[in-house]
Amino acid sequence: MKEPRLQAIEGRSGGFYALAALLGALVAAGLWAAWQMEHHGHAITGMTNQIVWGLPHVFAVFLIVTASGALNVASVASVFGRKAYKPLAPLSAVLAIACLVGGLAVLVLDLGRPDRLVVAMTRYNFRSIFAWNIYLYTGFLAIAAVYLWLMLERRMNRYSRVAGTVAFLWRLILTTGTGSIFGFLVARQAYDAAIMAPLFIAMSLAFGTALFLLVLIGAFRATGRPLGDHLLHRLKNLLGVFVAVVLYFTAVQHLTNLYAAEHHGVERYILVEGGAVTALFWVGQVLVGGLVPLGLVYHPTLGRQRGAIALAGLAVLLGGLAQIYVIIIGGQSYPLILFPGMEVSSSFFDGVIHTYRPTGVELLLGLSGLGITGLITLLALRVLAILPAALGDEQAPAPAAGATEAVRA
């Protein structure tokens, strides 16, 4: 089998410039929002001393979780020896880097003192999962960059498998770290659960694969390059498995909580009485992010249509945003329990459900993370040869043949 040639996109069409301009505008708007927040303080956002983390964190965590999952296709190629995926591995690594940079930018620009980033880079408290994460994130960027170089530089290709394995292990630890930001919070009823780490890993696999599918379909379509169905169908089946795993871990998360009487209140809030949070859980997370994509990818006829596969990917991403919103905002809007079984009131909102009304600046800042991710990906496609010139079914053989290739390789 002849390996597909990787080729940069031409990037001279009106569509390319329009997309670049749109993404650039998102980034500019986000920078403006961050400057406003820096200037006026967090008072101009909807975040309060009750809802401490808001929309910027929803977008940032979403992108960071997606980043590690976007590397999935490269892992499948390098670590698990599925040769059919190999031509797509560089795009997978680029997408992972782009997502992580987008997410981290939002996280940093939301700090109360973003100007003190140098403090965060020089003073560490190693009991803090945030401090570990600074190393995990920068390490991931470095490893993914080296991995990308080893894949693109022909003479170095033979080392790419080692780098791919390191990147794969690193990303598992990284997402464990992201999930543990919440998993280790003993204070809050909605968190403080070890299942957060595996749940986040499952989420990363689903979101990352969904984003990869969308970028893959979009890039091949926009450049008019041929894309066969075999690989796409294998990827969408993989997406289906990951989505089912997320649903499974979500069910376990809530069933475990429901078993403990002390968590009944917060579970009733999230699952039944939480208004927008409850709607986002059932409609956003479970229906749009779980059942709809499952129905689409495993449907005997719809599941073979490219449009339906793309729609499934989009649904997983929207459901993912809803899921992280439910975790972050829902988890905080339920009050801290200082006196179990008692009715409490105070001037500081003890005992009441906290409302969160996000403002334009935090939405713009959050969206700019998507803008940064998109812009990096677009520019990388333009300057690096990471997209196969063609990926018809003859380049990416059917599963059985692919498996034989892998064994031979």
């Binding site: 401490v52 700090l111 003192r113 801290l336 079984g341």
Partner: protein
């Protein structure tokens, strides 16, 4: 021989100190339990500063401790309760089964194992050797992870520019702040503003002192009357203890 001489000197010095303490005046000691710490000397783990709140003496509707803290440390007062910082608040608690109700002040509980210090990425959240938990306002990057981690909701982010902060309580936009146990007063041998204000009302529901000194009033009260921790299930060993939560 040298050892013996040292012992003799120590004995004489201790005797002198004792005599001075006794002779100064009846009931007035030079070396009291809350003696001022000399400048330049680090806080010592021989002390564990704490507060005992007697909820049975804490009057419903009284917020003298809150006003005193606000005045002393210069926080609050913009009329925006959702974003204004609150270092100390009065919480009203009612048992829906028995109808019994009481009120109590809640502030930073100055835990021995503070989750805020554990999660702070830069080490801005810190615990002094004498048990006072503080935020280094020069090192805080405003990530608010400590606010997510604190079970007592004791911390606030300063959401706006701070006009005219007190010299002893530096505060600034974009950083996190909380009760300092009036560390500037404690280091000068005085008690926190809330304790002083509570005593002035006649309720005297707050006792400040050294939990590690068995002879102190607070240690004696805790020994004799108990002293419950809020969220004791978390095992954080807070320095703020309460009486009369469950009677």
């Amino acid at each position: 021989m040298a050892e013996q001489a040292a012992t003799r000197r120590d004995f004489l010095r201790a005797g002198g100190a004792l005599a001075a303490g006794v002779l100064l005046a009846p009931g007035v000691f030079l070396l009291g339990p809350a003696a001022a710490r000399p400048a330049g000397e680090p806080a010592s783990s021989r002390q564990r500063w704490g507060l005992l709140v007697d909820t049975r003496r804490c009057a419903d509707g009284c917020d003298a401790c809150v006003s005193a803290c606000r005045e002393e440390n210069g926080w609050g007062g913009r009329g925006r309760p959702e974003t204004d910082p609150q270092w100390i608040r009065k919480v009203r608690v009612r048992d829906p089964r028995s109808g019994r109700s009481f009120s109590l002040p809640v502030m930073c509980q100055h835990c021995a194992h503070p989750p805020c210090v554990d999660v702070c990425p830069t080490g801005a959240s810190m615990r002094r050797a004498d048990g006072i938990v503080l935020v280094d306002r020069h090192r805080c990057i405003g990530c608010r992870y400590c606010m997510m981690a604190c079970p007592y909701k004791a911390r606030s982010l300063e959401h706006e520019a701070v006009e005219d902060p007190r010299p002893w309580a530096p505060r600034g936009k974009g950083t996190v702040e909380s009760c300092t146990l009036c560390v500037h007063r404690v280091d000068a041998g005085r008690e926190p503003a809330c304790v002083e204000a509570c005593r002035r009302t006649g309720n005297a529901a707050l006792v400040f002192g050294d939990l590690a000194d068995p002879a102190s009033e607070i240690a004696r009260s805790v020994r004799e009357l108990g002293g419950e921790a809020l969220r004791a299930d978390l095992g954080l060993d807070p320095g703020v203890r309460y009486l009369g939560l469950n009677v």
